[in-house]
């Protein structure tokens, strides 16, 4: 007994010395920074350098030009982008949190089904998805035309355009960020807090305003960041509705004109604005603590609420989900209509299954689908590994450089997809240490990598929001019982944060399947993803087939969502 112990003692001590060092934590987070260095800093550094360089000289001229009042286009674009983004955050929050509330707080028949359907709009394929809004709400859209018919009007009563069109599209496609994180947070909320508030005399609204919403702060901050940044980088929606003075448009124009330095400047400013927003949100979130502090595990409320509330919730959530699903239904409609026949009519006059027949008889249909699923799965796996690790480090560990970590993770999300892709192309078209001395461009790996870099924030954000809610002493208990960090992570932290991780994972996976903007710049003929395939059909104006393809994509994603739900029992994390 004694002999084997003694020689073992010194190494233990040295290890102890290392692990107890104040700097040990940096050894732990170093891999995270390394990954970010390789796949974020390294590719993106050039952009920032370019923004300060004209003819090889350091110069602030581009910035001067950007902010000059003489040519206000840039400033105008900046303002429009920020304005749109802020409003988008607000409307997405309203829709997402309301849906989460209706679906998480009331038990009624069909609820489980609706919780999944409410996630489906995130599966809307980016290109044709936006189009379906035109089919619905534009001047020639189904709804305005129907109203015109019903009320026998001269003109359509309304049509979606301009600013509100953009907001509408943003809301309908991005509310899922709020929905997913908020439902996770509502599930994880300590029910005794509401009880405490109620026993102090607070009515339901007051409880929402003063307890529930503030306690959802980490979730709201997470999704606000996601929505704000993606709105800043949004391109298609503003364009479709004729708001073309936006930052992304300016970047696009600069690149078309060949003013790459100006494009770099605009990209930099775009990311700086997003970073400022990140700072603001971090500051706000840091003001308070959101960690469950109750002693023991609170009793979950099993009480049935008033029947009225139950049926109202049922009606409202069904209505809500239906409205949110309308764009998808329209896609289905188009996919069944004969190309070119649907002109002045409210609904397509002629139907056909030809598009599907074409799709299913084409041997090349499934390859891109397999590609997309495979690449997105790989990227998502990476996202889960690094996103969860980073979130854990962020919430649980104390080290300097947290903000930097946060910033680096969020950066690729804050930039337009084109910029991200172009950066990756230039970084990985030559062998480098970060790509294990391989040329990644033109290989299979570049797309998963792009998805990984771009969607890391989704897992990271939603996981950290959940972790922030979780009582850390539970983890301490596990450690105390002898569990190594990894064991306690696996057995305690992971299952408890599962619903948050899952939300992020689903978001990342679905986004990966639909990703277009950077895919189109990075794909090869062997790795062509669904989105590119749809684009090519649209490009050839095989509109019906494109929609059929989109519908196929949605159906597959819905299956994934349902299977996930079944597998996790739908109550992952409810025990927090």
């Amino acid at each position: 007994m004694k002999t084997p112990l003694e020689p073992a003692a010194p190494p233990v001590n040295r290890w102890t010395l290392l692990t107890s060092s104040r700097y040990f934590i940096y050894v732990l987070v170093a891999p995270l920074f390394l990954v970010l260095l390789a796949y974020v800093v390294f590719p993106f550094f050039q952009t920032f350098v370019d923004s300060f360089r004209i003819q090889g000289q350091f110069s602030m001229q581009n910035y001067a030009k950007f902010f000059s009042l003489k040519h206000s286009a840039n400033l105008e674009a900046l303002w429009t982008s920020v304005y749109i983004s802020v409003i988008s955050v607000i409307t997405c929050a309203i829709v997402g949190v309301t849906m989460a509330f209706l679906l998480e707080r009331y038990e009624f028949p069909g609820r489980k089904m609706l919780t999944v359907l409410a996630m489906v709009p995130m599966a809307l394929p980016p290109l044709i998805g936006v189009l379906s809004f035109t089919f619905l709400y534009s001047e020639s859209g189904i709804i305005p035309r129907t109203l015109k018919l019903w009320f026998d009007l001269e003109q359509v009563p309304f049509s979606l355009k301009g600013f509100w069109g953009v907001i509408m599209v943003h809301t309908f496609t991005m509310y899922t960020y709020f929905y997913m994180t908020a439902s996770t947070a509502i599930k994880g909320l300590d029910p005794s807090l509401e009880e405490a508030a109620a026993s102090l005399g607070a009515g339901r609204l007051y409880v929402w305003r003063r307890v529930i919403l503030p306690m959802l702060t980490p979730a709201m901050v997470a999704s606000s960041l996601l929505v704000f940044m993606i709105s800043m980088a949004s391109y298609t929606a503003p364009l479709i509705f004729g708001i073309d003075r936006t930052m992304t448009m300016q970047i696009y124009l600069s690149r078309t004109n060949g003013s790459l330095d100006m494009a770099a400047t605009q990209s930099t400013i775009l990311s700086i604005v997003s970073i400022l927003f990140l700072l603001l949100m971090r500051w706000y979130q840091g003001l308070r603590s959101y960690q469950n502090a109750s002693k023991g595990v609170s009793i979950h409320r099993t009480e049935v609420k008033s029947a009225l509330g139950k049926y109202t919730a049922m009606a409202l959530s069904t209505l809500g989900v239906t409205i949110l699903l309308l764009p998808i239904l329209v896609l289905v409609l188009i996919s069944f209509s004969v190309d070119g026949t649907w002109t002045y009519q409210i609904l397509p006059p002629e139907y056909t299954t030809r598009h599907y027949v074409e799709l299913f008889t084409d041997s090349k249909t499934w390859r891109p689908i397999a590609n997309s699923f495979e690449m997105s799965a790989i990227a998502t796996l990476g996202n889960v590994l690094f996103g969860v690790a980073a979130a854990y480090a962020m919430v649980r560990l104390k080290f300097k450089g947290k903000f930097l970590l946060d910033l680096l993770i969020m950066l690729p999300w804050a930039l337009p997809g084109t910029v991200v892709a172009v950066n990756l192309i230039s970084a990985f078209s030559e062998p480098s240490v970060f790509s294990f001395n391989q040329v990644l461009i033109g290989t299979f790996w570049i797309l998963p990598m792009a998805y990984f870099v771009r969607h890391l924030p989704l897992v990271f954000r939603s996981t950290s929001a959940t972790l922030m809610q979780m009582d850390s002493s539970v983890e301490e208990a596990a450690r105390n019982l002898g569990a190594t960090w990894w064991y306690s992570f696996r057995r305690v932290v992971f299952p408890m944060a599962l619903s948050g991780i899952l939300a992020g994972t689903l978001l990342a996976f679905v986004q990966g399947i639909g990703e277009f903007v950077s895919s189109i710049l990075l794909f090869t003929s062997r790795t062509s993803p669904i989105s590119v395939e749809i684009f090519q059909r649209m490009y050839a104006f095989d509109f019906g087939t494109a929609c059929a393809y989109g519908v196929l994509q949605i159906v597959l994603i819905v299956i994934v969502l349902f299977v996930t739900r079944k597998m996790t029992g739908g109550n992952a994390g409810t025990a927090i």
Binding site: Q46, V49, D50, I54, Q55, G56, H71, S72, A73, L131, T134, S138, S140, K161, T236, L239, I240, G242, D244, M249, Y252, L253, R255, T256, N257, G258, S259, L260, D261, M262, D339, G340, T341, W342, T343, T418, A421, V422, I425, S426, S429, E430, P431, V439, I441, G442, I520, L521, T524, S525, S528, V532, F535, Q536, M538, Y539, A540, F541, D542, F543
Partner: protein, 346 residues
């Protein structure tokens, strides 16, 4: 153009890999061709199989994307090009790319048959086909006689709220048309041109995001008139069952060039050259003219082999000075964007 500035920083890293990949690449099979194209599926499916037939054993990889994305991609991959042949893009894009040193010079055998205004002076790109920009209308809404006959007719108040325009700034084609409209009113002083465009803006109902949207909205009767290129109108009309038709403006149309080029640093340059030659073969050109409404740049194709639809049209070009227009385009478009666009409609 402004693109030149950014060339320098990217150039340095280009030197290293020039040698490196040279050593390890797979044995020079060179049986592969990577095409970046902005041609749509129909065109590709028409041509590529034929090429393969002629060159058995060559693996052709075609990546379809927007012309802009081809440019972005070629630019990004400059240090280690992955593509070989750039098939399809506007003249201005090719000029930008040439400026940024992204294209290899190659003088094809048919060089002499392409008129000078349709090719690069240094042989870095050649126009493949001509795209006359014409007036497009929806015959379900507008009878041919009621449609405008010339550019100036578009300004007629009776067309107010009927015109849809594909987003101008983002489209090389539209920029050229608009610049041409200014040029037409006198290049020396754009004020008159601006005035003209202002009136057009008054009549314009909406600027659409992309061609797809333009087609959709035209078909769905949100507007009845547009400015668009002849080829696409014909394709939509004939193959996609769309209710479109065109009017060739009496005073002549700006004729754009859609070009091709070999990407500099291409790893399969020989095959790319083969494809280059193949693409311009007179037989193929006639076929394409027939099936896909492409108007060849080659001037040596006998009129008899051209399809019927082309015979009826006299391709009267608008008198334009491309160099001036290229130089002024950015300034004019910026002005239009900031001072004219959307200002008249209200």
């Amino acid at each position: 153009s402004g693109g030149g500035a950014s060339v320098q920083p990217a150039e340095k890293p280009a030197e290293k890999p020039a040698e490196k990949p040279a050593d390890p690449p797979k044995p020079a099979e060179a049986k592969k061709l990577v095409i970046y194209t902005a041609r749509d599926k129909t065109v590709v499916d028409e041509i590529v199989p034929k090429f393969k037939e002629q060159n058995p054993g060559v693996e052709v990889e075609v990546l379809t994307m927007g012309a802009q994305q081809v440019l972005e991609r070629v630019r990004g991959e400059k240090a280690n090009p992955q593509g070989d042949f750039w098939w399809g893009g506007t003249q201005s894009m090719f000029m930008t790319a040439a400026d940024e040193d992204l294209l290899a010079a190659y003088k094809p055998t048919f060089a002499g048959t392409v008129p000078a205004q349709y090719k690069d002076g240094k042989d870095r790109w050649y126009g493949e086909m001509l795209l006359p920009e014409v007036i497009m209308y929806n015959p379900q809404m507008l009878k041919k006689e009621d449609a405008p006959k010339d550019w100036d007719d578009l300004l007629d108040p009776k067309y107010k709220g009927k015109i849809l325009i594909r987003g101008v700034l983002a489209s090389g084609t539209m920029r050229t048309i608009y610049s041409a409209m200014i040029f037409r009113q006198g290049a020396g002083d754009p004020a008159k041109g601006y005035e003209w465009l202002k009136k057009l803006d008054v009549n314009t109902k909406e600027y659409t995001q992309d061609p797809t949207n333009l087609y959709l909205k035209m078909a769905r009767q949100e507007g009845s008139l547009s400015l668009w290129n002849l080829q696409d109108i014909m394709i939509q009309k004939e193959t996609k069952n769309q209710p479109f038709d065109f009017i060739y403006p009496a005073s002549g149309a700006p004729i754009l060039v859609d070009g091709v080029g070999i990407i500099k640093g291409s790893k399969n340059e020989e095959i790319a050259k083969k494809f280059y030659e193949f693409l311009f073969e007179p037989k193929l050109r006639s076929e394409l003219a027939e099936k896909l409404f492409q108007i060849p740049t080659r001037s040596d194709i006998s009129k008899d082999t051209l399809p019927a639809w082309l015979k009826g049209i006299e391709l009267k070009p608008m008198e334009l000075d491309w160099a001036t227009m290229a130089a002024k385009e950015k300034e004019w478009m910026d002005y239009w964007d900031q001072n004219i666009k959307g200002k008249g409609a209200k």
